[in-house]
């Protein structure tokens, strides 16, 4: 039997350990972050935190001199409204683009499109926010004759543009994962290309497409800087697309720097963090379970 040099065996084991550590570290980080966020918020969460007020009151007065109130309903409504609006724009657009790139595009154009879309994903969120604040603001005022252009519509459009690349890139992967035999069989039966997409590919790839949408939702919920700049940052339940709102993430970004460490206000911001963490965790977990469903089939 051929013996390998001892040095090589040791080096290989060491390398394997190192890589294993890298793999496990991701889990450690996620739990570490959750533990930290929870610990910072937990003191107040269990002593004196009014959960009813938090979820059902719109009165957010964290630094009031007379009567401090932590009602996050308007913030939750703000996050929900921009996210839903963003998805209304981004889902048809993103899935449509994914279908075009995957099924109808020539190979040359396909590469160009994919690179361009990845470039779209690489634009920093503060740049998007700046576009919202300057370009979109005056555009919305002029087009809709609105009193102010920093509103749900502005934030929703910016977020839609930011989540489209994710939806396109994962959606396209999902369509590509459908075996070619499906396409061949469908075409052999004499269907048109559109019928093939509509009746064969979409049902076959539906889990992957759903996962793409959910990851887009996760992106939209978690986005901070762009919505901070584009939504107007006003504590208000929106009654129309032209109303300014404030999101959960933007509130943390705007107020955490100033809140004295371990004060009630600071801990409430961490409780908002726990809420956000739970939302994105649920969304990502659902997406992951759905993707798993795809693989087992």
């Amino acid at each position: 039997m051929l013996m390998r040099p001892r040095r090589e065996v040791v080096a290989e084991t060491a390398m394997e350990m190192l890589i294993r550590l890298c793999g496990i570290s991701a889990i450690l980080f996620v739990f570490g972050i959750f533990f930290f966020v929870f610990r910072e918020g937990s003191g107040f969460l269990f002593h004196g935190f009014k959960i009813g007020e938090f979820f059902f009151s719109i009165e957010w007065y964290p630094t009031s001199q007379s009567h401090v109130r932590y009602g996050a309903l308007a913030l939750i409504a703000g996050t929900a409204s921009v996210t839903v609006l963003a998805m209304l724009f981004a889902v048809p657009f993103g899935i449509g683009a994914a279908i075009f790139i995957s099924e109808f595009c020539r190979p040359r154009a396909k590469e160009t499109l994919k690179i361009t879309i990845e470039l779209l994903a690489a634009i920093p969120s503060v740049v998007w926010g700046f576009i919202g604040l300057t370009v979109m603001n005056s555009l919305i005022i002029r087009l809709f004759n609105a009193p102010i252009g920093l509103n749900v519509l502005n934030g929703g459009l910016i977020l839609a543009l930011m989540s489209v690349p994710i939806i396109v890139s994962i959606g396209e992967d999902a369509l590509k994962a459908v075996p070619d035999s499906y396409r061949e069989a469908a075409l052999a039966l004499g269907v048109t290309r559109w019928q093939m997409v509509y009746r064969v590919l979409l049902p076959a790839a539906k889990n992957g497409l759903l996962a793409a949408v959910l990851l887009g939702v996760g992106r939209a919920v978690g986005e901070t800087m762009a919505v901070l700049m584009a939504t107007g940052h006003a504590v208000k339940i929106p009654a129309s697309l032209m109303d300014s709102v404030r999101t959960l993430t933007a509130t943390i970004a705007a107020e955490l720097g100033e809140a004295a460490v371990h004060s009630e206000h600071y801990q409430v911001l961490f409780i908002i963090g726990i809420l956000l963490f739970s939302i994105t965790f649920a969304v990502n977990l659902t997406a992951d379970l759905i993707v798993r469903g795809v693989r087992h089939k």
């Binding site: 308007a74 009193p147 504590v235």
Partner: protein, 308 residues
């Protein structure tokens, strides 16, 4: 889906490599610059967004006077400066409102030193509206009714202002809640204990307020007088209805006729010493006070006593 995994992996590896290279580069460059100029004294100066341009102008001018001292200025709001003071991580905190007793106590408890207060200039808190707004003056009561919780003014027509176009809604532009200007406005205009009306657009900087007002026909906002531009209009302020209204300028600030003028403060932990003391002394000098004027604020009266 396998392709997705592969793509993610290679992207991850590339990101990791870039990260490692960047870290090495950063370490190298830090090491180099550190060894070149070891004897530079650094004064950390943080706080008020109203004062950040002024503090920056001071720091730049002082670098010419005293090249061995570097004053590092950052903004973030008075609350940020106060928090840094309480944590003992800053040499001078800029503040557009006075420290509260509780904050004094906290700083004393945390660092063992009591904050010292220095008035370095004045600001006439200006009320800004869009250029197209025909309004010229406003009273403190009207401001309180516009901004205060349960205040009754929400439309320009209620102030008998006829806005061109449809922008009759008053778009309130305010500041984030750690801002010294926000505190000052709440205390002086809304009155102790009263809160802001919800739904104002809370901007993160003095400049952002003026910027948004300049782009929004129906807007009203408050910010330091140093941020005035030709794109917006500043209102004259009257104490009560029927009183004479005054414009926010140097003269009206110094003779106390502008009702919402306020001092600008710098705070140090304990009695200032060494380079910090020298810097504050320079801020009080003729050059230092001239920069206050150049930044758009009001310098201390020429004859007044100087603490340093």
């Amino acid at each position: 889906m396998r392709t997705l995994r592969l793509k993610a992996d290679s992207r991850f590896i590339r990101a990791a490599i870039i990260l490692v290279l960047a870290t090495i580069l950063a370490c190298l460059s830090l090491g180099c610059s550190g060894s070149k100029q070891p004897e530079k004294t650094v004064i950390q100066n943080t706080g008020s967004d109203t004062m950040v341009n002024l503090a920056q102008a001071w720091a730049e001018e002082y670098a010419k006077v005293e090249p061995t001292v570097s004053v590092e200025v950052s903004g973030g709001g008075s609350g940020t400066g106060i928090a840094a003071l309480i944590n003992g991580t800053v040499d001078i905190a800029n503040c557009s409102r006075q420290l509260e007793q509780q904050e004094m106590d906290q700083a004393k408890k945390n660092t063992g030193k009591l904050p010292h207060e220095f008035t370095v200039g004045y600001d006439a808190l200006a009320i800004y509206v869009h250029k197209a707004n025909p309004l010229e003056e406003i009273t403190l009561d009207q401001l309180a009714e516009i901004y205060g919780e349960s205040g009754k003014f929400t439309k320009w027509s209620q102030l008998s202002v006829k806005m061109p176009g449809i922008a009759d809604e008053i778009i309130r532009v305010s500041r984030q809640s750690n801002s010294g200007t926000y505190y000052y406005f709440r205390e002086v205009i809304l009155g102790k204990g009263r809160d802001f009306k919800l739904g104002s657009r809370d901007m993160h900087g003095s400049k952002d307020v003026v910027e948004l007002v300049s782009k929004t026909p129906g807007a009203i906002g408050y910010s330091g007088m140093g941020y005035a531009t030709s794109e917006v209009k500043t209102l004259r302020i009257a104490g009560k209805a029927g009183d004479k209204a005054f414009a926010p300028n140097v003269e009206n600030t110094l003779n106390h006729s502008y009702p919402i003028a306020r001092p600008l403060f710098m705070y140090t932990l304990g009695e200032p010493a060494g380079e910090v003391k020298k810097y504050l002394g320079w801020v009080y000098s003729e050059t230092g006070q001239r920069i206050v004027t150049q930044s758009g604020y009001v310098p201390l009266p020429k004859t007044g006593a100087r603490p340093l």
